[in-house]
């Protein structure tokens, strides 16, 4: 009597199943994080309250998702990543590699990203794309402006927090980085307001994960600044890719490490090109409408 054993591919590979289980666990930890809960509560309140009466520009309301989902999300994922340091001697002997665990941590950024998408829908409900508060941008560029200000920072902030948590040991790093990034955006916005025609200032303004594209003009109307909102989204997504790769680089060995470093180089070049295109595209001079 003979028996034939047929080996076929399993329905789900063990690596993917482990990754999914880890990602779900980390996601559960994120949604229970007090800082993230505070951020979501505030965004929900701000969207529920709606815009202030007499609002003449979109910039009064659109930084909130970037600050709360992106900035506070960064602090939350930084803590999430750092909280595993104490248990590293135990977790380190499991058959799961550090890059796999980092990838699971990166997957939690889907949650703030989803909230960002919901915030964008709510924002467009209150400020439709035909609203003059957007300035002189075309309808598609208006969508790009708010997507780059609301959705992508909500994705990039948490990813940056994971990368920071993997490489920096100082426990206050996330809050310091949050305040430094906030200062940088405030500074370049003020400088851009006083030098709206300058190309180098436009590059500096776009050299951030968040930027303003329009400002209420003292003479009336809204002044749209230099820069292409679509290419700016490309630059932001390249920064997100860099954050993920930098996070994954920690603990990577052998061929994986070589691949990550090569991908980092490609992402870095792409980011640079997209930043130049973002600064060179769009309006070449500020336009008030």
């Amino acid at each position: 009597m003979t028996a034939t054993l047929a080996f076929g591919p399993p329905a789900t590979s063990p690596g993917r199943a482990t990754f999914t289980a880890l990602a779900i666990r980390e996601t559960r930890r994120l949604v229970l994080n007090p800082v993230f809960l505070f951020a979501v509560a505030f965004i929900t309140f701000a969207l529920w309250a709606g815009p202030d009466a007499g609002q003449t520009e979109i910039d009064t309301a659109n930084p909130y998702p970037a600050i709360f989902l992106g900035g506070f999300g960064m602090m939350a994922t930084y803590w999430l990543t750092r909280s595993m340091r104490a248990s590293e001697p135990v977790v380190g002997v499991t058959p799961i590699t550090l890059p796999a665990r980092t990838a699971a941590l990166c997957a939690v950024a889907i949650v703030p990203f989803g909230y960002g998408c919901l915030a964008l829908i709510a924002f467009l409900h209150f400020h439709s794309a035909s609203d003059p508060a957007y300035g002189a941008f075309s309808p598609s560029a208006r969508i790009a402006v708010v997507a780059g200000q609301i959705v992508v920072p909500a994705l990039g902030g948490p990813l940056l927090g994971v990368a920071l948590g993997r490489w920096v040991r100082f426990p206050g790093a996330a809050l310091v980085l949050f305040l430094v990034l906030w200062s940088w955006v405030s500074l370049v916005t003020v400088v851009a307001g006083s030098h709206p025609d300058s190309a180098p200032v436009a590059v500096l303004r776009l050299f951030a994960g968040f930027t303003f594209f329009a400002l209420h003009s003292d003479a009336g109307g809204v002044t749209a600044w230099r820069g292409s909102p679509w290419f700016f989204i490309g630059w932001q997504l390249a920064l997100c890719a860099i954050a993920v790769l930098v996070a994954l680089l920690r603990g990577a060995e052998g061929r994986v490490r070589t691949r990550i470093i090569r991908a980092l180089g490609i992402a870095g070049v792409a980011a640079l090109i997209l930043l130049v295109l973002a600064a060179a595209g769009g309006f070449t001079h500020p336009v008030t409408a």
């Binding site: 800082v35 206050g172 310091v176 305040l179 405030s186 500074l187 400088v191």
Partner: protein, 215 residues
């Protein structure tokens, strides 16, 4: 004793955050139009730096030594000179650039920010050996809220920006100073904190450890 306690402080954290605050404040001085945005952030960073002054990685050992919490806190308070000096440097640079700020109120805001961070650390130190990261984050969240939430900004101002409406920041900071003085006194006096506070094991009130007797 003083030198030993000071040497064990979280100097890299305090000096690093104070340095970041000087950079941010320096840009505020260099670009006067951005000063009213950057100086509050600079002060917030200094509050975060003050929150790290009481961090004690070896608290399980240090807390059972004969040196009491009052003496240790007094010595560690010397580290507050770093954020205060950094803030003073920024204000001097701002004044040298000719900015017209209400200097008395600005100095009060600086002292209030630093003392708020230190007080939060004092209170949390009764529960944990390294309160810096948690209290620093909490203090930053509290201090940035008026700048972020318009509903709060109508009632609370943490920086005396010239020409801004609403209540004076002096009222806020005198109140904060008074509350901080009481909170520091209570936390150093060894009174139990409210039960809703988290209970990370800390041994300040534990005078002796259980010993295992040999069979």
């Amino acid at each position: 004793m003083t030198g030993t306690v000071l040497r064990a402080g979280a100097w890299p954290a305090v000096a690093g955050i104070s340095g970041a605050a000087v950079v941010v404040g320096g840009f505020g001085a260099a670009f006067p139009a951005a000063a009213t945005m950057l100086l509050p952030v600079c002060f917030t960073l200094l509050a975060a730096a003050a929150a790290f002054t009481l961090d004690e990685p070896a608290s399980l050992v240090v807390d059972v030594t004969p040196t009491g919490p009052v003496r240790r806190t007094q010595i560690r308070a010397v580290a507050l000179l770093a954020p205060l000096a950094a803030g003073a440097l920024v204000l001097l640079a701002t004044a040298a650039r000719g900015l017209a700020l209400p200097w008395g109120a600005t100095g009060l805001a600086l002292a209030g920010n630093v003392l708020l961070g230190f007080t939060a650390a004092c209170v949390a130190r009764t529960r944990t050996g390294e309160p810096g990261a948690t209290t620093g984050t909490a203090v930053v969240l509290v201090l940035v809220t008026p700048g972020l939430v318009p509903h709060v900004a109508r009632w609370v101002r943490t920086f005396p920006a010239p020409g801004a409406g609403g209540p004076s920041s002096d009222t806020v900071w005198w109140t904060v100073l008074a509350v901080c003085a009481v909170a520091i006194a209570v936390s150093l006096g060894g009174r139990n904190l409210p039960p809703w506070m988290s209970t990370v094991p800390i041994s300040r009130r534990r005078r002796s450890y259980p010993t295992v007797q040999p069979p």
